[in-house]
Amino acid sequence: MRQSRLVQASLFVFLAAMLTGCGSHVPLEDLTISLILGVDLDEKNNLVISESSPVFNQDAKQNIESYQLKAETVRDSRKYFDALATGEVTAAKIQVLLIGKRVLEHEDWFPVLDTVYRNPTFSLNTRVVVVDGPVSDVMFYVPPDKPQMPLHLKEVIDKNIDRTRAVISTLQVLHRQMYESGMTPSLSVIKKEKDVEFTGVVLLDKKGKYVDTIDAQNSAFLLILRDEKKQELTLTIPMTSLGEGGGIFHKNQISFDVSRVKTDVKTSYNKGKFDFKYQIAMTVNVAERLFPAGRVNQKELEKMIEKELKNRLEDMVKKFQANKIDPIGLGIHARAYQYEQYKKVKPHWDEAFAESNIDVSVDVRIKSMGAVN
């Protein structure tokens, strides 16, 4: 039995010496946890990477540190950050990835983000947000009346997603949209004026180049077309057929809360063109009405809203077609229902999309007029 004890003892020593993971531990205070990563171009089109991380130290006057520097690639930037920051810079907790609009003005910028997808330590839930203007404006802005910038930004984006105004644009979704041949990518956009504010959605072409921006209300229409209503959706539109839009208190406005929306697309192919027929059924509750009750009855009001929504949706779709971008993802429908035809146009779906017939019909049912008549 002596031999087996010897084996046990040597095994124990061996294991103790090898105790894995304990040699390279890092306490939390010694980490510089990037919460925002920024990618931008400066005036001379050099790649500029920035990051912002909280400081866990009582002696520091500011509780957040931000750096910006020139680097060849995102991964390359880490060595410069390590040279600047107190702790080891880690990317595992990045909440928001800011991309400068200047970057999007060049096509094929997407490979810059390669490391984010290749390196398993990155989180794919990071929100990708475009900055209309220099990224550094947002990165170095310390709002006196708000929580730390990373948390504030994330909450602002998430809230607008819940209210069906911002598109979901995590790294995962961006990757899917960049590779999807039947759809073009779209990202939420923020702007630094006096404060940092959410302004809408930017639409990119299939190579990722910037094409157009739509405001928050139109983003809601985009999401209706994509059938992606989240928790809440409120629309405020003027009833143009009631006239007199002017005056101080826009008296033709109506707001309604869409409690249910169902978007159906019928896909067909005739005479060399794709045919998409949208049928959008909505149940709404009126939340605000500035014109008096006697003007129209409920049936007329429903018809008016339908007409107004139809015009706006069709205008938006026409604009997409003119710009040859398909942020709605109609290509996915074309692939599913007209595969043979789609296969032929797959490499240049944007062209086929621009030529297709898209018809929108809206069916509105008012469920309630609210607490007052």
Partner: protein, 364 residues
């Protein structure tokens, strides 16, 4: 020292077979089937299940001819000593290489996803200890372990349902995009992930209720099919069909988007649990290896062989530091050998035994 002969209950038998089938294939299965047949790949998985179940049933039919022993005893009984020895060597080589390849893959996965700064040989050394503790005993212990691990890890399937809130079900349409040819191609890859039922050759004599053997193996195959389908179809609707082939392990990337208020980076936790799933593949394979070699050496106890197997695996990773590509290449090769052992071999023996019985009957 004579012990009671170890036996297997039906659940132990089912989960042993199912466990060996699951293995590492499930991480890459969505990509591999999508490479062959796009989002029709899941049909290939169903077809593979049909083939695997048919082959499994043939194995049971073969084993009914010699219920007292394993396939090694059967070979010796019907074909003589030398073919018996040759068969034992072949099976031990097959199981040995398979076990080592997946064992190393397990360490590589841990290194890539959880412990990037730890050397592979250290992980192998550490994994060897629990492996030794479980495999040194008999098949009953392994059976119990498989049952335990199944129920310990089956909840993980819930996490494959959650990402479906981002799903785009239109990706699955139309069915049969390019006809049947790509789907048949995908059967070629999907079939590998059903490999493992051939351990029934060795489990059959230990099974308590032999009349349930066929039903048990069909249940094991079907369980595997369901899990594969949930994960594969989940990945197909979650990723764009143009994108899915880019990810090496789509099944894990899918989990990367899970996020709760109280926990982020859930895929790390998931992966730690997934190691148990890999272990129920590796450990029975190791057991089969040392079972064969100790039969060959005529030894009752397989512990010494097990220690040697683990040492060989350790020395191998020290001398030839493994990489994913090299490991996958080896796996591909050994799986092809496995196809012969799991499909062609039982069919041939079955045919031979049928002919033999007919000749005997006619002789009478």
């Amino acid at each position: 020292m004579k012990m009671a002969k170890p036996t297997l209950t039906l659940p132990q038998y089912i989960f042993l077979i199912h466990g060996v089938q699951m293995g590492v294939g499930v991480l890459t299965l969505p990509r591999e089937t999508a490479e062959a047949a796009g989002t029709d790949g899941w049909i290939g998985i169903v077809l593979s299940w049909v083939l695997a179940t048919a082959a499994s049933l043939i194995i049971i039919q073969v084993m009914k001819n010699y219920p007292k022993g394993t396939i090694l005893d059967l070979l010796r009984h019907y074909f003589g000593k030398w073919i018996g020895i040759a068969g034992t060597i072949l099976f031990s080589l097959y199981f040995g290489i398979m076990a080592t390849v997946i064992f190393i893959r397990e360490a590589l996965f841990i290194q890539a996803w959880i412990l990037p700064r730890t050397e592979v040989y250290i992980l192998i050394a550490l994994l060897s200890i629990p492996s030794y503790l479980i495999v040194r005993k008999n098949i009953t212990i392994l059976g119990r372990y498989s049952v335990l691990v199944f129920f310990m890890t089956v909840w993980m399937m819930i996490f494959f349902i959650i990402p479906l809130k981002q799903a785009q079900w239109l990706h699955l349409l139309p069915l049969l995009k390019e006809g049947w040819q790509p789907i048949l191609d995908s059967v070629g890859t999907a079939l590998f992930s059903f490999g493992g039922f051939e351990i029934a050759f060795f489990l059959y004599p230990f099974l308590q209720k032999k009349e349930k053997a066929s039903m048990g193996i069909v249940i094991a195959n079907t369980l595997t099919l369901f899990i594969y389908l949930i994960i594969t179809i989940g990945a197909f609707v979650f990723f764009s069909p143009d994108e899915i082939t880019i990810y090496n392990e789509p099944s894990i990337v899918m989990l990367k988007i899970l996020e709760f208020r109280f926990i982020e980076r859930l895929e790390i936790v998931f992966f730690a649990f997934y190691l148990f799933v890999i272990s129920v593949t590796v450990l029975p394979l190791m057991y089969m290896t040392v079972y064969c070699t100790s039969q060959l050496a005529g030894e009752e106890n397989h512990r010494r062989h097990l220690i040697w197997l683990l040492i060989i695996a350790f020395v191998y990773v020290v001398l030839v530091p493994p990489t994913f590509d090299q490991n996958k290449l080896l796996q591909r090769l050994i799986e092809q050998a496995g196809m012969v052992l799991a499909f062609a071999f039982p069919l041939c023996i079955w045919a031979y035994l049928l002919i033999l019985r007919n000749i005997k009957r006619r002789g009478n």
